[in-house]
Symmetry: C2
């Protein structure tokens, strides 16, 4: 059972009216938006990643879902498996730093003990308030596709974490992602659709188009790439494609009506049109879609 099959089965359970058919990253439970994201050791983080960075990341990936709805964090519920005192302490230190940095208090949670050697599964549920909550499915024909920040840094940072020599900025992008809460607040009332880039720009853009019943074109040469990324991966089409599929970026991907410019720093990377599917361009030339659009967890 992969993630999509499981989601299909979940949709046959009794659903909350705010669950939006489980098609979005958040649910609406008035007056809150609710999101949940879990990290699995060996899947979403490396056993060698510092515990404090994992604590930061668990908060950041969840806060990023609130950012994509333009919400203000209300608080976090944590489910935590105890296994090793030093690691637990480090985890709480990084978690606390992120919660303080983004003004997200702890609501509560549950701690459980873990059999020796079992991989950790860290999960959090976040509540946010005052959300404009642009849906994932709201894009319209002609809307432009925009993205904040730069792409690919975290994916390259994962290679650095695995032992490749590379810039510290990339490692930091992988280990300490910065959820775009301030940008999300400003974009929320303006964007016709918005999500965060967690699984990779192409897969997330494709999902946004599919949800809206539209097609989307993405211009690889318009992708915002950082100087450390260019130094590390080069200026090739392969480097651009890697940035578009690596995931873990936690930038905001959003649609705006044609002609509008966003109220935050962002790059225009594509456009929605009638039809379906994803078309890639690079330097004006259409490319065959890559075999792998990004991360498909649970597959």
């Amino acid at each position: 059972m992969n993630e999509n099959e499981f989601l299909g089965a979940l949709r046959r359970l009794p659903l909350h009216p705010g669950a939006r058919g489980l098609t979005d990253d958040v649910a609406l439970v008035d007056p809150y938006v609710v999101t949940a994201d879990a990290l699995v050791e060996g899947v979403h983080f490396l056993p060698t990643d510092p515990a404090a960075d994992v604590g930061w990341k668990l908060a950041a990936v969840n806060l990023s879902d609130l950012a994509a709805k333009g919400a203000v964090p209300e608080g976090m519920v944590l489910a935590y498996p105890l296994r090793d005192a030093d690691w637990d302490r480090g985890f709480l230190e990084g978690l606390g730093e992120a919660l303080a940095a983004y003004s997200c208090p702890l609501i509560g949670g549950d701690t459980v003990s873990l059999p020796r050697g079992a991989p950790r599964i860290l999960s959090a549920t976040l509540l946010g308030r005052d959300a404009a909550a642009p849906p994932r499915a709201g894009a319209r024909t002609g809307d432009a596709l925009w993205v904040t920040g730069t792409l690919g840094d975290a994916g390259a940072g994962l290679a650095v974490a695995r032992g490749e020599a590379g810039p510290a900025e990339l490692l930091a992008a992988y280990r300490r992602p910065r959820p775009r809460l301030a940008e999300g607040r400003r974009l929320g009332p303006r964007a016709t659709a918005m999500c965060d880039v967690s699984d990779g720009l192409l897969i997330d853009a494709g999902r946004m188009a599919a949800a809206a019943g539209l097609s989307v074109t993405v211009a690889l040469d318009a992708l915002p790439l950082s100087a450390p990324y260019r130094a590390f991966r080069g200026e090739t089409q392969a480097a651009r494609l890697a940035a578009a599929t690596a995931g873990d970026d936690y930038e905001l991907l959003f649609a705006l009506p044609p002609g509008e410019t966003p109220p935050v720093d962002a790059a225009r990377v594509g456009r929605f049109a009638a039809g379906s599917g994803l078309t890639l361009f690079d330097g004006g030339e259409a490319l065959p879609p890559p075999g792998r659009l990004g991360w498909l967890h649970g597959g």
Copy 2:
């Protein structure tokens, strides 16, 4: 780091005003109560337990925390690790039965993939509404201690699940606990303090007393025991002690002012007084407290 040390460290993080200092099983995030409970394979359930029963149980243990606050279920957020298609299907079947039985819709969640052979950690966050929310700490000197239903059945059922020959009712009590939502609704406005019996009557009664700054006496011979339990474990003091410490009962334990009788079926099992600590009586004679009061997860 055991659960108590970890909780101490958690309390030094920024806390939500409704977190009640992380001293209760639920938090208040107006207009909701929020609770989270996780089940770990090999710790809270057996790898051989049927997947459907584990799905039921994950819902039931969380709904039980809502019952203890007199709340109506608003919905569940699920974090689910995919590992085996047949098991996943069974889990959803049992989960769906419990959600339907107690009118608790699914709000959303996250699915993740799990490394081969890793023990499952299943976690859920529940929101409830319209809660009278009697605190764990509200008992007063002279209040009587009451409990719904019968105790020890699930603990005995665990022995049956592990291979001992025993009545099917006990196995069902372990695998398909019934959260006392209807009773909780009626008790919520009346009880001065309330919690569910998840870790064992003695440990949960002791926590209730400690939270209120009081002592509590428990009369073992007043413990409500089912006929199948008596048939299985006998009528000895050891049998009563086992029922008071086994845990997993998910009955409601509550305090009422002296002289008041509860609006639901319940047994009076003890009394709060000034002082501190737990005193056990059986047939009018004081007993030394047992070495193990119940389940201390994470220890």
